[in-house]
Symmetry: C2
Subunit: 177 residues, 2 copies
DNA sequence: CCCGAATCTTGTCAACGACTAGATTCTCGC
DNA sequence: GCGAGAATCTAGTCGTTGACAAGATTCGGG
Protein backbone atom coordinates (compact mmCIF):
# COMPACT_ATOMS: atom_id res chain seq x y z
CA UNK A 1 0.00 0.00 0.00
CA UNK A 2 1.73 3.18 -1.14
CA UNK A 3 1.69 6.21 1.07
CA UNK A 4 0.12 8.21 -1.72
CA UNK A 5 -3.17 6.89 -2.98
CA UNK A 6 -2.98 8.04 -6.56
CA UNK A 7 -6.34 9.74 -6.90
CA UNK A 8 -7.94 9.83 -3.51
CA UNK A 9 -10.27 12.66 -4.44
CA UNK A 10 -11.87 10.55 -7.16
CA UNK A 11 -11.91 7.46 -4.95
CA UNK A 12 -13.75 9.35 -2.19
CA UNK A 13 -16.31 10.72 -4.63
CA UNK A 14 -16.90 7.21 -5.96
CA UNK A 15 -17.20 5.86 -2.44
CA UNK A 16 -19.70 8.62 -1.67
CA UNK A 17 -21.82 7.55 -4.63
CA UNK A 18 -21.73 3.96 -3.43
CA UNK A 19 -22.48 4.77 0.21
CA UNK A 20 -25.33 7.17 -0.54
CA UNK A 21 -26.94 4.65 -2.89
CA UNK A 22 -26.77 2.05 -0.12
CA UNK A 23 -27.88 4.03 2.92
CA UNK A 24 -28.78 7.59 1.93
CA UNK A 25 -26.97 10.86 2.74
CA UNK A 26 -28.21 10.86 6.29
CA UNK A 27 -26.07 7.83 7.14
CA UNK A 28 -23.01 9.07 5.26
CA UNK A 29 -19.80 9.13 7.29
CA UNK A 30 -16.43 10.52 6.26
CA UNK A 31 -14.71 7.82 8.27
CA UNK A 32 -16.60 5.12 6.40
CA UNK A 33 -15.53 6.66 3.09
CA UNK A 34 -11.94 6.62 4.32
CA UNK A 35 -12.27 2.93 5.17
CA UNK A 36 -13.75 2.16 1.75
CA UNK A 37 -10.83 3.94 0.10
CA UNK A 38 -8.31 2.27 2.39
CA UNK A 39 -6.89 5.45 3.88
CA UNK A 40 -6.78 6.99 7.34
CA UNK A 41 -9.87 8.61 8.83
CA UNK A 42 -8.67 12.17 8.25
CA UNK A 43 -7.49 11.77 4.65
CA UNK A 44 -10.76 12.75 2.90
CA UNK A 45 -10.87 16.04 4.75
CA UNK A 46 -7.64 17.08 3.10
CA UNK A 47 -9.31 17.15 -0.32
CA UNK A 48 -12.69 18.56 0.64
CA UNK A 49 -12.16 20.50 3.86
CA UNK A 50 -15.17 19.05 5.63
CA UNK A 51 -18.31 17.01 5.04
CA UNK A 52 -20.13 19.99 3.53
CA UNK A 53 -17.23 20.49 1.15
CA UNK A 54 -17.40 16.89 0.01
CA UNK A 55 -21.15 17.03 -0.63
CA UNK A 56 -20.73 20.34 -2.44
CA UNK A 57 -18.18 18.79 -4.80
CA UNK A 58 -20.44 15.75 -5.20
CA UNK A 59 -23.39 18.01 -6.08
CA UNK A 60 -21.29 19.91 -8.62
CA UNK A 61 -20.38 16.59 -10.23
CA UNK A 62 -24.11 15.83 -10.34
CA UNK A 63 -24.87 19.02 -12.25
CA UNK A 64 -22.15 18.15 -14.74
CA UNK A 65 -23.63 14.68 -15.28
CA UNK A 66 -27.09 16.24 -15.67
CA UNK A 67 -25.73 18.70 -18.23
CA UNK A 68 -24.34 15.82 -20.27
CA UNK A 69 -27.79 14.23 -20.42
CA UNK A 70 -29.51 17.50 -21.33
CA UNK A 71 -27.09 18.15 -24.18
CA UNK A 72 -28.19 14.93 -25.84
CA UNK A 73 -31.74 16.32 -26.08
CA UNK A 74 -30.63 19.21 -28.29
CA UNK A 75 -33.48 21.52 -27.29
CA UNK A 76 -36.32 19.02 -27.65
CA UNK A 77 -38.67 19.30 -24.66
CA UNK A 78 -39.66 15.67 -24.23
CA UNK A 79 -36.14 14.38 -24.81
CA UNK A 80 -34.79 16.86 -22.28
CA UNK A 81 -37.31 15.47 -19.80
CA UNK A 82 -36.23 11.92 -20.58
CA UNK A 83 -32.59 12.96 -20.13
CA UNK A 84 -33.40 14.61 -16.79
CA UNK A 85 -35.15 11.44 -15.67
CA UNK A 86 -32.37 9.20 -16.95
CA UNK A 87 -29.87 11.23 -14.95
CA UNK A 88 -31.96 10.91 -11.79
CA UNK A 89 -32.46 7.15 -12.20
CA UNK A 90 -28.86 6.32 -13.10
CA UNK A 91 -27.35 8.67 -10.49
CA UNK A 92 -29.81 8.62 -7.59
CA UNK A 93 -27.14 9.56 -5.05
CA UNK A 94 -26.22 12.74 -6.90
CA UNK A 95 -29.89 13.59 -7.42
CA UNK A 96 -30.55 13.12 -3.70
CA UNK A 97 -27.76 15.48 -2.69
CA UNK A 98 -28.02 18.17 -5.37
CA UNK A 99 -31.32 19.63 -4.24
CA UNK A 100 -30.73 19.65 -0.48
CA UNK A 101 -29.31 23.12 0.03
CA UNK A 102 -28.80 22.59 3.76
CA UNK A 103 -26.08 20.05 2.96
CA UNK A 104 -24.16 22.27 0.55
CA UNK A 105 -21.71 25.15 0.94
CA UNK A 106 -23.51 28.33 0.02
CA UNK A 107 -21.75 30.33 -2.66
CA UNK A 108 -19.20 27.69 -3.68
CA UNK A 109 -17.74 28.78 -7.03
CA UNK A 110 -17.43 25.33 -8.60
CA UNK A 111 -20.98 24.39 -7.62
CA UNK A 112 -22.43 27.68 -8.85
CA UNK A 113 -20.71 27.26 -12.20
CA UNK A 114 -21.96 23.69 -12.64
CA UNK A 115 -25.45 24.82 -11.64
CA UNK A 116 -25.38 27.67 -14.13
CA UNK A 117 -24.43 25.29 -16.95
CA UNK A 118 -27.28 22.85 -16.28
CA UNK A 119 -29.73 25.72 -15.76
CA UNK A 120 -28.73 27.22 -19.11
CA UNK A 121 -29.33 23.89 -20.84
CA UNK A 122 -32.74 23.61 -19.19
CA UNK A 123 -33.59 27.14 -20.32
CA UNK A 124 -32.54 26.22 -23.86
CA UNK A 125 -35.38 23.73 -24.28
CA UNK A 126 -38.20 24.87 -26.52
CA UNK A 127 -41.18 25.64 -24.38
CA UNK A 128 -44.08 28.11 -24.29
CA UNK A 129 -43.21 30.94 -21.94
CA UNK A 130 -41.99 31.04 -18.33
CA UNK A 131 -45.07 29.35 -16.87
CA UNK A 132 -44.65 26.55 -19.39
CA UNK A 133 -41.06 26.15 -18.31
CA UNK A 134 -42.13 25.98 -14.66
CA UNK A 135 -44.72 23.36 -15.50
CA UNK A 136 -42.30 21.22 -17.50
CA UNK A 137 -39.49 21.41 -14.97
CA UNK A 138 -41.87 20.71 -12.07
CA UNK A 139 -43.32 17.72 -13.89
CA UNK A 140 -39.99 16.02 -14.59
CA UNK A 141 -38.50 16.83 -11.24
CA UNK A 142 -41.56 15.62 -9.38
CA UNK A 143 -41.77 12.51 -11.52
CA UNK A 144 -38.12 11.66 -10.87
CA UNK A 145 -38.41 12.32 -7.13
CA UNK A 146 -41.60 10.32 -6.69
CA UNK A 147 -40.28 7.49 -8.86
CA UNK A 148 -37.11 7.20 -6.80
CA UNK A 149 -39.01 7.03 -3.52
CA UNK A 150 -41.21 4.32 -5.02
CA UNK A 151 -44.36 6.36 -4.43
CA UNK A 152 -45.21 6.69 -8.09
CA UNK A 153 -44.55 3.12 -9.24
CA UNK A 154 -46.80 1.97 -6.40
CA UNK A 155 -49.80 3.73 -7.98
CA UNK A 156 -49.27 2.19 -11.43
CA UNK A 157 -50.11 -1.21 -12.89
CA UNK A 158 -47.09 -3.56 -12.87
CA UNK A 159 -46.36 -3.29 -16.60
CA UNK A 160 -46.26 0.51 -16.39
CA UNK A 161 -44.14 0.43 -13.23
CA UNK A 162 -41.53 -1.61 -15.08
CA UNK A 163 -40.70 1.11 -17.62
CA UNK A 164 -40.16 4.56 -16.08
CA UNK A 165 -39.37 6.19 -19.41
CA UNK A 166 -42.57 5.04 -21.06
CA UNK A 167 -44.51 6.09 -17.96
CA UNK A 168 -42.87 9.49 -18.09
CA UNK A 169 -43.59 10.00 -21.79
CA UNK A 170 -47.21 9.12 -21.09
CA UNK A 171 -47.38 11.64 -18.25
CA UNK A 172 -45.60 14.32 -20.27
CA UNK A 173 -48.21 13.99 -23.01
CA UNK A 174 -50.64 15.65 -20.62
CA UNK A 175 -48.73 18.90 -20.99
CA UNK A 176 -50.13 21.25 -23.60
CA UNK A 177 -47.64 21.68 -26.47
CA UNK B 1 -40.01 22.29 37.04
CA UNK B 2 -42.15 19.20 37.59
CA UNK B 3 -40.65 15.78 37.13
CA UNK B 4 -43.31 14.97 34.58
CA UNK B 5 -43.45 17.29 31.62
CA UNK B 6 -47.14 17.12 30.84
CA UNK B 7 -47.00 16.37 27.14
CA UNK B 8 -43.41 15.76 26.20
CA UNK B 9 -44.30 13.83 23.09
CA UNK B 10 -46.06 16.87 21.62
CA UNK B 11 -43.32 19.23 22.81
CA UNK B 12 -40.65 17.13 21.07
CA UNK B 13 -42.64 17.01 17.83
CA UNK B 14 -43.04 20.80 17.96
CA UNK B 15 -39.34 21.23 18.68
CA UNK B 16 -38.58 18.96 15.71
CA UNK B 17 -40.66 21.18 13.45
CA UNK B 18 -38.79 24.24 14.72
CA UNK B 19 -35.32 22.70 14.46
CA UNK B 20 -35.84 21.24 10.97
CA UNK B 21 -37.17 24.58 9.69
CA UNK B 22 -34.05 26.26 11.06
CA UNK B 23 -31.29 23.85 10.02
CA UNK B 24 -32.76 20.94 8.04
CA UNK B 25 -33.10 17.27 9.05
CA UNK B 26 -29.41 16.62 8.52
CA UNK B 27 -28.52 18.80 11.51
CA UNK B 28 -31.29 17.45 13.73
CA UNK B 29 -30.15 16.20 17.12
CA UNK B 30 -32.23 14.41 19.74
CA UNK B 31 -30.18 16.08 22.47
CA UNK B 32 -30.95 19.51 21.05
CA UNK B 33 -34.65 18.67 21.04
CA UNK B 34 -34.35 17.62 24.69
CA UNK B 35 -32.70 20.95 25.51
CA UNK B 36 -35.43 22.87 23.69
CA UNK B 37 -38.08 21.01 25.67
CA UNK B 38 -36.16 21.44 28.94
CA UNK B 39 -35.74 17.75 29.71
CA UNK B 40 -32.80 15.37 30.02
CA UNK B 41 -30.99 14.12 26.95
CA UNK B 42 -32.56 10.68 27.02
CA UNK B 43 -36.16 11.71 27.59
CA UNK B 44 -37.24 11.96 23.93
CA UNK B 45 -36.13 8.41 23.24
CA UNK B 46 -38.67 7.13 25.74
CA UNK B 47 -41.54 8.33 23.52
CA UNK B 48 -40.11 7.49 20.11
CA UNK B 49 -37.59 4.70 20.67
CA UNK B 50 -34.89 6.27 18.56
CA UNK B 51 -34.29 9.02 16.02
CA UNK B 52 -35.88 7.00 13.24
CA UNK B 53 -38.95 6.51 15.41
CA UNK B 54 -39.24 10.25 16.00
CA UNK B 55 -38.97 11.08 12.30
CA UNK B 56 -41.48 8.33 11.49
CA UNK B 57 -44.01 9.87 13.88
CA UNK B 58 -43.22 13.30 12.48
CA UNK B 59 -43.80 12.05 8.92
CA UNK B 60 -47.11 10.48 9.94
CA UNK B 61 -48.18 13.82 11.39
CA UNK B 62 -47.22 15.35 8.05
CA UNK B 63 -49.51 13.01 6.12
CA UNK B 64 -52.35 13.88 8.47
CA UNK B 65 -51.78 17.59 7.89
CA UNK B 66 -51.64 16.97 4.14
CA UNK B 67 -54.89 15.03 4.30
CA UNK B 68 -56.58 17.98 5.99
CA UNK B 69 -55.56 20.26 3.11
CA UNK B 70 -56.68 17.77 0.45
CA UNK B 71 -60.09 17.38 2.06
CA UNK B 72 -60.76 21.08 1.56
CA UNK B 73 -60.40 20.59 -2.22
CA UNK B 74 -63.37 18.20 -2.33
CA UNK B 75 -62.18 16.37 -5.44
CA UNK B 76 -61.33 19.42 -7.54
CA UNK B 77 -57.99 18.87 -9.29
CA UNK B 78 -56.61 22.40 -9.22
CA UNK B 79 -57.72 23.02 -5.64
CA UNK B 80 -56.16 19.73 -4.55
CA UNK B 81 -52.93 20.93 -6.11
CA UNK B 82 -53.18 24.25 -4.30
CA UNK B 83 -53.84 22.40 -1.04
CA UNK B 84 -50.84 20.13 -1.63
CA UNK B 85 -48.69 23.21 -2.25
CA UNK B 86 -50.10 25.05 0.75
CA UNK B 87 -49.25 22.10 2.95
CA UNK B 88 -45.67 22.03 1.64
CA UNK B 89 -45.17 25.77 2.08
CA UNK B 90 -46.72 26.03 5.55
CA UNK B 91 -45.10 22.81 6.83
CA UNK B 92 -41.74 22.65 5.05
CA UNK B 93 -40.18 20.54 7.79
CA UNK B 94 -42.82 17.83 7.49
CA UNK B 95 -42.58 17.93 3.70
CA UNK B 96 -38.81 17.55 3.87
CA UNK B 97 -39.00 14.47 6.08
CA UNK B 98 -42.04 12.69 4.63
CA UNK B 99 -40.47 11.72 1.31
CA UNK B 100 -37.06 10.61 2.55
CA UNK B 101 -37.62 6.91 3.08
CA UNK B 102 -34.11 6.34 4.40
CA UNK B 103 -35.01 8.38 7.50
CA UNK B 104 -38.20 6.48 8.27
CA UNK B 105 -39.01 3.14 9.90
CA UNK B 106 -40.10 0.78 7.20
CA UNK B 107 -43.50 -0.80 7.84
CA UNK B 108 -44.52 1.40 10.76
CA UNK B 109 -48.27 0.93 11.24
CA UNK B 110 -49.13 4.51 12.17
CA UNK B 111 -47.16 5.91 9.23
CA UNK B 112 -48.64 3.44 6.76
CA UNK B 113 -52.16 4.32 7.89
CA UNK B 114 -51.55 8.07 7.57
CA UNK B 115 -49.98 7.50 4.15
CA UNK B 116 -52.94 5.45 3.00
CA UNK B 117 -55.36 8.21 4.03
CA UNK B 118 -53.54 10.95 2.11
CA UNK B 119 -53.05 8.63 -0.89
CA UNK B 120 -56.76 7.87 -0.95
CA UNK B 121 -57.57 11.58 -0.96
CA UNK B 122 -55.13 12.14 -3.81
CA UNK B 123 -56.72 9.30 -5.76
CA UNK B 124 -60.15 10.86 -5.17
CA UNK B 125 -59.35 13.92 -7.27
CA UNK B 126 -61.02 14.01 -10.66
CA UNK B 127 -58.42 13.34 -13.29
CA UNK B 128 -58.16 11.59 -16.65
CA UNK B 129 -56.73 8.13 -16.10
CA UNK B 130 -53.62 6.84 -14.32
CA UNK B 131 -51.16 8.71 -16.54
CA UNK B 132 -53.04 11.93 -15.88
CA UNK B 133 -52.81 11.26 -12.16
CA UNK B 134 -49.06 10.68 -12.46
CA UNK B 135 -48.69 13.92 -14.40
CA UNK B 136 -50.73 15.95 -11.92
CA UNK B 137 -49.04 14.54 -8.83
CA UNK B 138 -45.58 14.92 -10.37
CA UNK B 139 -46.33 18.52 -11.31
CA UNK B 140 -47.45 19.62 -7.84
CA UNK B 141 -44.82 17.66 -6.03
CA UNK B 142 -42.05 18.96 -8.25
CA UNK B 143 -43.37 22.51 -8.04
CA UNK B 144 -43.47 22.38 -4.24
CA UNK B 145 -40.00 20.83 -3.99
CA UNK B 146 -38.39 23.28 -6.41
CA UNK B 147 -40.17 26.22 -4.83
CA UNK B 148 -38.91 25.31 -1.37
CA UNK B 149 -35.32 25.01 -2.53
CA UNK B 150 -35.64 28.41 -4.17
CA UNK B 151 -34.75 26.99 -7.58
CA UNK B 152 -38.08 27.79 -9.16
CA UNK B 153 -38.61 31.34 -7.82
CA UNK B 154 -35.12 32.16 -9.13
CA UNK B 155 -36.26 31.53 -12.71
CA UNK B 156 -39.34 33.76 -12.47
CA UNK B 157 -39.81 37.53 -12.65
CA UNK B 158 -40.04 39.10 -9.14
CA UNK B 159 -43.79 39.65 -9.23
CA UNK B 160 -44.41 36.00 -10.08
CA UNK B 161 -41.91 34.83 -7.47
CA UNK B 162 -43.88 36.68 -4.79
CA UNK B 163 -47.05 34.60 -5.17
CA UNK B 164 -46.43 30.84 -5.29
CA UNK B 165 -50.14 29.99 -5.56
CA UNK B 166 -50.66 32.18 -8.61
CA UNK B 167 -47.49 30.80 -10.16
CA UNK B 168 -48.71 27.27 -9.50
CA UNK B 169 -52.15 27.92 -11.01
CA UNK B 170 -50.43 29.32 -14.09
CA UNK B 171 -48.20 26.25 -14.37
CA UNK B 172 -51.11 23.87 -13.76
CA UNK B 173 -53.02 25.42 -16.66
CA UNK B 174 -50.50 23.76 -18.95
CA UNK B 175 -52.00 20.39 -18.06
CA UNK B 176 -54.60 19.15 -20.50
CA UNK B 177 -58.01 18.99 -18.81
C1' DC C 1 -53.27 3.46 50.41
C1' DC C 2 -50.42 0.80 47.77
C1' DC C 3 -48.32 -1.36 43.94
C1' DG C 4 -47.29 -1.68 39.16
C1' DA C 5 -46.71 1.10 35.15
C1' DA C 6 -45.39 5.17 32.93
C1' DT C 7 -42.23 8.83 32.74
C1' DC C 8 -37.96 10.96 33.32
C1' DT C 9 -32.75 11.28 35.01
C1' DT C 10 -28.08 9.97 35.32
C1' DG C 11 -24.24 7.53 33.64
C1' DT C 12 -21.82 5.21 30.07
C1' DC C 13 -19.97 3.64 25.44
C1' DA C 14 -18.68 3.57 20.67
C1' DA C 15 -18.75 6.41 16.53
C1' DC C 16 -18.34 10.64 14.34
C1' DG C 17 -16.61 15.46 12.55
C1' DA C 18 -13.16 18.62 13.12
C1' DC C 19 -8.69 19.97 14.30
C1' DT C 20 -3.51 19.67 15.12
C1' DA C 21 1.09 18.10 14.60
C1' DG C 22 4.06 15.38 12.29
C1' DA C 23 5.57 11.80 8.76
C1' DT C 24 6.10 10.56 3.92
C1' DT C 25 6.23 11.37 -0.86
C1' DC C 26 6.11 14.23 -4.97
C1' DT C 27 7.78 18.10 -7.95
C1' DC C 28 10.40 21.38 -9.80
C1' DG C 29 14.22 24.49 -10.18
C1' DC C 30 19.01 24.23 -10.50
C1' DG D 1 20.35 14.01 -9.82
C1' DC D 2 19.56 16.51 -5.85
C1' DG D 3 17.66 19.34 -2.45
C1' DA D 4 13.86 22.36 -0.73
C1' DG D 5 9.29 23.26 -0.34
C1' DA D 6 4.68 21.84 -1.35
C1' DA D 7 1.27 18.25 -1.48
C1' DT D 8 -0.53 14.30 0.55
C1' DC D 9 -1.44 11.27 4.12
C1' DT D 10 -1.13 9.37 9.27
C1' DA D 11 -1.78 9.49 14.18
C1' DG D 12 -3.71 11.48 18.11
C1' DT D 13 -7.13 14.28 20.45
C1' DC D 14 -11.55 16.81 21.79
C1' DG D 15 -16.39 17.83 22.08
C1' DT D 16 -20.85 16.04 20.50
C1' DT D 17 -24.05 12.63 19.37
C1' DG D 18 -27.28 8.23 19.42
C1' DA D 19 -28.19 4.30 21.88
C1' DC D 20 -28.52 1.74 25.89
C1' DA D 21 -28.81 0.46 30.97
C1' DA D 22 -30.07 1.22 35.67
C1' DG D 23 -32.34 3.76 38.87
C1' DA D 24 -35.41 7.70 40.66
C1' DT D 25 -39.91 9.95 40.62
C1' DT D 26 -44.68 10.34 39.71
C1' DC D 27 -49.16 8.64 38.15
C1' DG D 28 -53.36 5.87 38.37
C1' DG D 29 -56.33 1.85 39.16
C1' DG D 30 -57.85 -1.57 42.61
Amino acid sequence: MPYHHGDLRRAVLDATDEAVRENGVAALSLRDLARRAGVSHAAPAHHFGDKTGLLTAFAAEGHTLLSAELERADGDLIEAGVGYLRFALTHPAHFEVMFQDALLRDGDAELEAARARSAALLAATEVSGPTGASAAWSLVHGFATLWLTGSLPATLPPEAAADPYAAFRAAARHLKP
